[in-house]
């Protein structure tokens, strides 16, 4: 699965994009973040406060419960600051 990072999620992790083969127990967004958090210090820092993290699954805004089966792309990022 393609995982994208933006804003300070990206700068904490140190990369903008990666391809990850998810283990079978990762069924939804919350599982994914739990899995990523164990991938190293940068990941731990990025996901320390999950309330501050927003998620899009296949470019649609999603929640912690959103299932990932069949999805191609998940993006994790801080609240948006456009305009």
């Amino acid at each position: 699965m393609r995982i994208l990072y933006f804003g300070w999620v990206r700068t904490n992790i140190g990369l903008g994009e990666e391809e990850i083969s998810l283990p079978p127990h990762v069924e939804n967004v919350e599982d994914l973040i739990g899995f990523l958090r164990d991938q190293g210090n940068g990941y731990r820092a990025a996901f320390e406060n999950i309330k501050a993290v927003r998620v899009a699954v296949d470019q649609e805004m999603a929640g912690m419960e959103t299932p990932l089966s069949g999805s191609r792309e998940v993006a994790l990022f801080p609240p948006m600051t456009g305009g």
Partner: protein, 149 residues
């Protein structure tokens, strides 16, 4: 119409083109967002806008469609830039044109309010003492919420 681009835009020309195009238009409202040279806390030397290619276009098109449903619009243009910009540079342009001024003014405000917290852009400010990601402002959340139906 929406455009997501790195290059600067000519706001005056875009506004002029929209108001000249259509004899049904009675009012053209516009908003330009610019990089300020300072915020409440410090001087700003530059700002970088990161975005999510693909999703950005999707969200902006969705906002265009919603505005066209809620107001009677003859024309609508959103240009949003990404990349690094210095103070005084233009970040975003919203133009709405309608037979009726209220529709133009309301939809313009709606679009810029929604863009602020609903389009996948992230701002990083450079200051004399370092750079930092910009936080969402509580007032921006409130401004967007008032458009909830």
């Amino acid at each position: 119409m929406i455009r997501v681009q790195q290059e600067d835009f000519d706001a005056g020309q875009e506004i002029g083109a929209i108001s000249a195009r259509n004899f049904e238009v009675g009012g053209v409202a516009s908003f330009i967002g610019l990089v300020r040279g300072a915020n409440e806390k410090s001087q700003i030397t530059a700002m970088t806008l990161e975005h999510y290619p693909g999703m950005t276009e999707k969200i902006l098109s969705g906002l265009e469609a919603e505005a066209r449903t809620r107001w009677r619009l003859e024309d609508l243009l959103i240009i949003h830039r990404y990349g690094r910009m210095t103070p005084g540079e233009q970040i975003v342009l919203v133009i709405t044109a309608s037979a009726h001024r209220e529709d133009a003014l309301q939809s313009c405000q709606f679009l810029i309010d929604r863009l602020k917290i609903g389009a996948p852009f992230w701002k990083k400010e450079e200051t004399p003492v370092g750079s930092h990601w910009v936080d969402t402002k509580a007032e921006d959340d409130k401004a967007s919420e008032r458009w909830q139906k």
